[in-house]
Symmetry: C2
Subunit: 209 residues, 2 copies
């Protein structure tokens, strides 16, 4: 296997943490997103969708979706379990993972990519340039506020995002929360459950920055 990574980007961080929690050793190739290496011909031959992370399998197949890479690794290296042991766990963990991705990770990306100078005309990942839409940043900030509220309430009922143990839903959620700091949105004062969870999860050896 080969793992195409970028140390400063949040999507591959999701997989980096997953790999570290499983204590796997996978050959890693750094892709320089800051200098747009993902748009070079060489990288286009690896992933025409122009995104990282990518996991190249030994048979040459390439997975270019973070969650599907984790699904593959979970199946090959089942312990420690991060995506559910039975149907109900898989469904519940999948649902909260999706919540963290869609309600947390996605709006942070919307704010950053539609405002930062470095993403001018790169408002979406992928091979096609798209102009920034500044109104999406305002909407994204409202979405992030809602995400923090819901997540804090959830963590009042539950030690971890998807239940009583650490799973992929915690990985996606902490990557989203840390990513939010890049657009100056941090855990609100008074969100005590979320703050306590963030401290606890950040201290895990696998949760590399």
């Amino acid at each position: 296997m080969k793992f195409y990574d970028c140390g400063t980007a949040p999507s591959p961080r999701r997989v980096r943490i997953f790999i570290a929690e499983k204590d796997l050793d996978i050959d890693t190739i750094e892709v320089d997103l800051r200098n747009r290496e993902q748009l070079d011909d060489a990288f286009g031959a690896i992933n025409p969708h122009r995104t990282v992370p990518v996991l190249e399998l030994d048979d040459g197949a390439r997975l270019w979706d973070s969650n599907s890479i984790c699904l593959y690794l979970e199946e090959r290296f089942p312990e420690p379990n991060l995506m559910g042991r039975d149907a109900t766990e898989k469904g519940v963990i999948g649902t909260w993972n999706r919540f963290a991705e869609w309600d947390g990770f996605a709006p942070v990306g919307e704010v950053l990519r539609n405002t930062a100078k470095g993403f001018r005309n790169r408002a979406l990942t992928g091979p096609v340039d798209h102009a920034q839409i500044p109104e999406m940043a305002d909407r994204g900030r409202r979405r992030i506020a809602h995400f923090f509220t819901v997540l804090d309430a959830r963590l009042g009922d539950s030690a971890y995002v998807a239940g009583d143990r650490f799973t992929i839903a915690d990985i996606t959620a902490i990557v989203a929360v840390d990513f939010a700091a890049r657009v100056d949105e941090s855990i609100p004062d008074g969100a005590g459950n979320l703050t306590a969870w963030h401290d606890r999860v950040s201290a895990r050896p696998g949760v590399v920055p």
Copy 2:
């Protein structure tokens, strides 16, 4: 189990097809999205995220993400297999399913929700109102065009979206393609692979409209 559905909405259609392909019989409750029943208190008690589909399990847990509902059903009712039999299949099918969702389904939703009068202030699903951003419609149409191009090329190499057999990736892709017709975006002339696949998949008894 109870399945909360809406016969006119595309997200629950993904699960309806999945259920039909597995030939399952699940109690179904229709939620009247046109009259915003999802915003009523009664539905809020079922899904505070205010979306359909929802699958309520026999232990009372509720899954409110289409893909996670399918993951649960796949685990409980493994045949016919729709999400992969081994690690590589799971990874490849998951990746193409994600492509169909993110590059196809999502931009159609962007166009519709940011332009249609019926979605004024409802530019996103969920409990929070968001104003429409008309620029997202132009961007969404460019994204749909790209989706059709990539999918047509893929179906030149492969009988089905994720390989040589029908999977969840075909379900998400056909729901996205049919949903696109609601914003007047149809398969382009000359996209022969995509047209042939669409005809073939639409003829499956499980692929209910």
